[in-house]
Symmetry: C2
Subunit: 449 residues, 2 copies
C-alpha cells in the first residue's frame, strides 16, 4: 500500500520513461546544456511564498526531528504549518534560482543547465497527475539573445522528432499580449485579461468576451478575427500583427522577426509551429517569447512549455539574471505515446537469452556460457537452479525472453548446443564451437546492430 | 542556503556521478536486471520499526496537510512523531519488499530488479555522508541458487573494472560465522559476538578478545591465527576451514565449494578476492554469503556490500521470498575515484565548440552552422549575443571549450572559417565547404570515435 497519489513504476513503464528521459537528456547535451541536481529538501523560507497561496497549501513540509520537534508541542495547525524549517521541492525553477545565487562565483555565464528530478505537490490525484512526478527542465541564464529562443524551439523539435511523437509548438510573446491589452484598455488588469483569453479554445469567443465584461473590459468583436486567424511566423503574419497593433508592439515584433530569420535558416523539420495569440502560460514571471508543446495525435493537451524571463533570481537577492527556460512533462509525454501505441516496442523485455539450468554437474559450464554471452554484448540469464525444464521455459515465455539455450550432459558429451527460438517456435542445433556464431546470425548483440 | 547535510551537485561532480551510474546501470542490464522505481514518500507504517530504534529516530517524516494537520493541534512531540502517516524512503530494500508483495501477481520469479534512487536519513553529516544520498541496489528474489552469488560477484568485478578503480571483494558466509560462534560457545550472543569480531582490523585481536570477555565469551588465543590468516576460496582454504570447524560448517562449506567451482570456470579478472571470516555486515537479516567491496587504493573503506537472505517479505505478509542483494555506495565510489585522480577526464567540459557571435547580420548563418554541427554529433554552442570577442573567448576558456569558431562578415564574404584550438593555441583557416571536414580531422564527433 502506498500514500494517495503516489505510485510504483514497474519494469515496462520504467523502460518507456527511461527511453523518453534518455532522448531528452541527449538532446539537452547536444545543445551544450550541463546537468545539475539540487536536494529534495529545501529550506522552507526558500520555497514558501514563491508559488502563490495554492503552492503554500500544496507544498509537502518535513516534520522536525529531535529538539526541534519539541518546539511544536501544543501548537496549532497553522503555527506548525508556518513554523517548520524544511519543505520538499515543489518545482525545479525556484531551487535553480537559489542555486544560481549560491554558486554565482563558480559558474560561467551564459550558464546552460538541465535538471531531471522529482517534485512533490499535494494536488488532487487524477489521470496522469501524481503527487510525486518528474520534471525535465532546461534553462539558459545570465544573458539574453534571440538565438536562445530558436535553440529552445529546436530542442523541442529534436526531442519530439526522436520520440516520433507528432506535436505542435505554440508560440506567443508576452509583449504582444501587453500590446493587445493596451489597445483594448485592459493593461491594468493584464493577468486576469490573459487568463480569460487563454480559455478561447475551450469557451469560445462569446465566453471570453463575457469573462472580460465581468471585469469591466469591453472588447470589440472585430478582435475575434485576430485571435482566431491562422497566423504564421513569417513576413506576412508579422506585417498583419503590426497593422493591428501599431507601435506598441514594435519590440515584440522586432524579436519575432529575428526569430523568424533564424527559423528560416534552419526550419523545424518535425513540429508544426503556430503563432497563438491566446497562449498565456499562467506565470506572470515570463516577459518575452512563451512556448507550449501540444500533442496533435493524443487527447492529452500540453506536453510542456516555457518562456523568456527578465529576472530569475532577485527574490534571492541577485538582480539582472535574465534567461529562458523550457520544460518537458514526462508523465504526459508517456501517456500521449501510450495512447498512440508508440510504447510497445520500448516496453518489451531487453533480455535476449535464457540458458537452462541442467543440474549441478553442468552448472559451472553454463555459468561460463552466460558470462561469455554477456561479454559479447547480449543480455543473458542463467536460470539459477535446476528446476523442471517446463518451468524454466515458462519463465522465459512469461518474461518475454526470445531464445532458450539447452546443453545438458548429453549435449555436452556430444559437444552440441540446442537453441530454441521461442518467438518463431524453431530449434537450431549447433556444435560447441559454432553456437555463438549461429546466435549472432539470429540476433546480433547490442552495440553491433 | 540549504538544510544541514544536503548539497547541490554542480556540473563537474554531476558528470562523475552520471559516469558511475551509467556504468553500474549498464552492467546491471547486461545481467538481465530490470529497473523499477518506488515513490519517495511511503506510508509510515510500511517503514517504521523496520530499521531499529536508530532508524525510527533518523527517518524523515512528512507533516500532514489540511484536515489531517488539525488532528495534531496541541499534541506532544512524541505523539506527532508516532502519529504521522507518511515518511521519506530510508533505504531501497524495505520499499522493494513492499513492492514485491504489492505486485507479486504481475512479476515473473526469479525477479531481478535494480533501483537507483535517493534515500533520506537524519544522520550527523560528515565527509561523504549526506542526509540525502543515492543508493544503487540490485536484488534477485523468489528463488535461490549459488549461481546468483557468482553473478553478483561478477557484477562487482565488471563495474569496478569499467571504473578502473582497484578494489577488494571480501566474502564471508553467515553460517560460517554461526559455526564459529557455536564452536566457541557464543551462539546465544551471535550478533554482539560478530559485531566485535568485525572490528578486528581496527582494534586488533586483544581488543576483540576483551570485548568478548566483557560479554562473558572466553575464546582461546589459537583462534587468532584463523581470523588473521590469508584464506583463499579454493580447495586448500576450504579444507583448512573444515578442519577448524568440523561438521557444523558443512552447509556453508558446501555452498562455498560450489561458488569456488563457478569462479574457477570464470575467474574475477579485476577484483582481488578475500575470504574474510571477520566480515559481519551488521544486518541480522543475512543468512548466507555476505560481501563487502573495499577500496584498495583510497582511504575510504567500504564502497558497497550485500548478501543472501532467506526472507525479504514476511514482514509484509508474504512468506518464502529468498533472495540476494548488492548495493553500490555512489558517494563513496566518487570520493575514492577523486582521491585516486580518476575523475579529471570525466569532469571536464563536454562542449567541443563555441561559435562566436559576430552581430545581427551573420546571426542566422551562425545559427545554421551550430545546428549543422549538432546534427553531425558535436556538442556545439553559439554565443547568444554580439559581445566583445575577448569576452566570448574568455567564456570558452573558462568553460573548458576547446574550439572557438570565427566567421565574421569579412570571412563570410571570402567564404572562410577560422578555427582556433584554444587548447593547442593554434589557428586553422578553412574554406566554407571544407571547414566541417577539417574539424572532423581535429576532433571526431561523438559516436564516431
Amino acid at each position: 500500500m502506498l500514500p494517495k497519489g503516489t505510485r510504483d513504476i514497474l519494469p515496462g513503464p520504467m523502460r518507456v520513461r527511461t527511453h523518453i528521459m534518455q532522448i531528452v537528456e541527449s538532446v539537452f547535451q547536444c545543445y551544450a546544456f550541463v546537468r545539475i541536481e539540487t536536494p529534495a529538501i529545501e529550506l522552507n523560507k526558500s520555497l514558501s511564498g514563491k508559488y502563490g497561496e495554492e503552492g503554500d497549501r500544496l507544498m509537502f513540509k518535513v516534520l522536525p526531528r529531535g529538539e526541534k520537534l519539541k518546539k511544536f508541542e501544543g501548537k496549532t495547525a497553522s503555527e506548525m504549518q508556518a513554523g517548520v524549517e524544511e519543505a520538499l521541492r515543489y518545482d525545479l525553477t525556484v531551487p535553480f534560482a537559489r542555486f544560481v545565487v549560491d554558486h554565482r562565483n563558480d559558474l560561467a555565464f551564459p550558464f546552460k543547465r538541465y535538471q531531471i528530478q522529482n517534485v512533490w505537490r499535494g494536488d488532487r490525484p487524477q489521470k496522469g497527475r501524481y503527487r510525486e512526478f518528474t520534471q525535465c527542465d532546461a534553462d539558459v541564464v545570465g544573458i539574453s539573445g534571440i538565438v536562445q529562443e530558436a535553440e529552445m524551439m529546436h530542442i523541442y523539435n529534436d526531442v519530439f522528432h526522436s520520440l516520433d511523437l507528432p506535436a505542435q509548438l505554440a508560440l506567443n510573446h508576452r509583449k504582444l499580449l501587453l500590446a493587445i491589452a493596451e489597445k483594448v484598455g485592459a493593461a491594468d488588469r493584464f493577468i486576469p485579461f490573459t487568463v480569460a483569453l487563454d480559455k478561447l479554445d475551450k469557451i469560445g469567443w462569446a465566453g471570453v468576451r463575457s469573462e472580460w465584461e465581468a471585469m469591466g473590459i469591453v472588447v470589440d468583436d472585430q478582435w475575434a478575427s485576430l485571435f482566431t486567424s491562422e497566423l504564421h511566423l513569417d513576413e506576412d503574419g508579422l506585417a498583419q500583427l503590426a497593422q493591428w497593433l501599431g507601435p506598441v508592439a514594435d519590440q515584440a515584433l522586432e524579436e519575432l522577426t529575428s526569430l523568424s530569420e533564424l527559423l528560416s535558416a534552419r526550419p523545424l523539420d518535425h513540429l508544426s509551429l503556430k503563432l497563438d495569440l491566446t497562449l498565456a502560460r499562467g506565470l506572470d514571471y515570463y516577459t518575452g517569447c512563451i512556448f507550449e508543446i501540444r500533442s496533435t495525435g493524443a487527447k492529452i493537451g500540453s506536453l510542456g512549455g516555457g518562456g523568456r524571463y527578465d529576472d530569475l533570481t532577485s527574490v534571492f537577492g541577485l538582480k539582472d539574471t535574465p534567461g529562458i527556460g523550457i520544460s518537458f512533462g514526462l508523465d504526459r509525454i508517456q501517456l500521449a505515446m501510450e495512447e498512440l501505441g508508440l510504447t510497445e516496442a520500448v516496453k518489451g523485455s531487453q533480455t535476449h537469452l535464457l540458458i537452462a539450468h541442467m543440474g549441478a554437474s553442468t552448472q559451472a559450464d553454463h555459468f561460463s556460457m552466460a558470462q561469455q554471452l554477456r561479454e559479447e554484448g547480449w543480455v543473458a540469464e542463467l536460470y539459477p537452479t535446476a528446476a523442471r525444464l517446463k518451468k524454466q521455459m515458462a519463465f522465459a515465455s512469461r518474461s518475454g525472453i526470445r531464445f532458450f539455450i539447452l546443453r545438458g550432459e548429453q549435449e555436452r558429451d556430444a559437444d552440441k548446443v540446442l537453441i530454441k527460438d521461442l518467438q518463431e517456435g524453431v530449434q537450431t542445433e549447433a556444435t560447441g564451437s559454432e553456437w555463438i556464431d549461429r546466435l549472432r546470425e539470429m540476433l546480433p548483440p547490442a552495440g553491433t546492430q
